[in-house]
Amino acid sequence: MKPAPFAYAAPRSVEEAAALLAEHGGDARLLAGGQSLVPMLNFRLLEPALLVDINRIAGLDGIAEIAGGLRLGALVRHRMLETSPLIASRFPIIAAAMAEVAHLAIRNRGTIGGSLAHADPAAELPLLALLLEARITAVSTQGRRVIAASDFFTAALTTALAPDEILTEIELPDPPAGSGWGFAELARRAGDFALAAVGVIIAEAGGICRTARIAMAGVGPTPLRAPAAEALLQGGTLDTGAIAAASRAAAAAAQPADDLHASAAYRRHLVEVLTRGALSAAVARARKVVP
């Protein structure tokens, strides 16, 4: 249960880190919060020749307002998301979901960049990135590119990032004005990975649903959107019948698997129940019935 030997570098800039990745290719690994990587090193599931610790790079842990949204540095810790006043006012769904992520000691270290790059199918932040239509910036010695969240998660624990790319920041566009959010998850214990989790964003105008987004985690190899369920809501009235129909459609879009913790059928059932709860909460928030 101890890691195999590795060389260690703690660069002070993204350029230096990118140069190390370019030089060492697949033999190097970035170390951010270490809350997913170090367990794999301890188990020797991974034996990289070099760890590039990005924790000493300044300027990667900011939460900043930009035109029409927020920009989050890759080293923003879960605990910062949980407590930031800017997050609480602009993206309360993120603050609410963070309470479900692991435990305080893990949230003190874990980073948004690490969570997105690790891409656990049951993790909350990838679900939120997909729901909030995040734009993810990747930097290498070849340059910089921006990846839409919808193109980022390609398979379980697999993303569009190349081995020599560093996720440096993500941009979150503000959801439509007047929208409401809902987030619901079930885990066996507080802080465990979700058996299923659902996040939604709803916007209404003149009694008609203008925007409906539904994303889920724990029920497929990657976080998933539920486009058919979203289409059922868009352009209609957000009554209990519509919410129930959309929740069934979301359950149909899930791709759950049986495992030790729950059967696929149970997980699919959970998606329906959680979607119904999240949609009802989002509608209530959009109508200012609840904060």
């Binding site: 101890k2 170090v38 301890n42 188990f43 305080l104 507080a190």
Partner: protein, 165 residues
Amino acid sequence: MSGKRRIAVTVNGTRYEREVEPRLLLGDFLRSELDLTGTHFGCEHGICGACTVILNGDSVRACLVFAVQADGGEVLTVEGLGSVEALHPLQQAFHEHHGLQCGYCTPGMLMTALDLIRKHGRLTEAAVRAGISGNLCRCTGYQNIVTAICAAAAAMQSGEPAGDA
């Protein structure tokens, strides 16, 4: 880049300099380099919470941080919490409320509870239960631990001396 690295870490107020391999976990650094064996390793992959210590003011798993990452930093372990003569209010409360049996999980419970109490103003019992959900105890059934943390939180907030923590 490879080979041993010289690091300086302040642990419980004392500065230590050592040459360590990059792969040395912070918990192994404390136990085998500094002989501070109060920090216990359980699962060594972040699940059990036994090795929780305070690093630069935050609770962390000492099995998920490398000693080289603590270079220049400050660590508080259970040895720095209180002494046999002057128990920390948390230690006093665990003693009074029988918050331990075998004691293996206790250092991690104490350091986790310390961070919880510092970061939450008022700690409800529900917050304590959620807050220690990442710390496994196989003896007590948790009830006495929850009671002890609630009692310590009340004592610490009413301004009783909180040790040098």
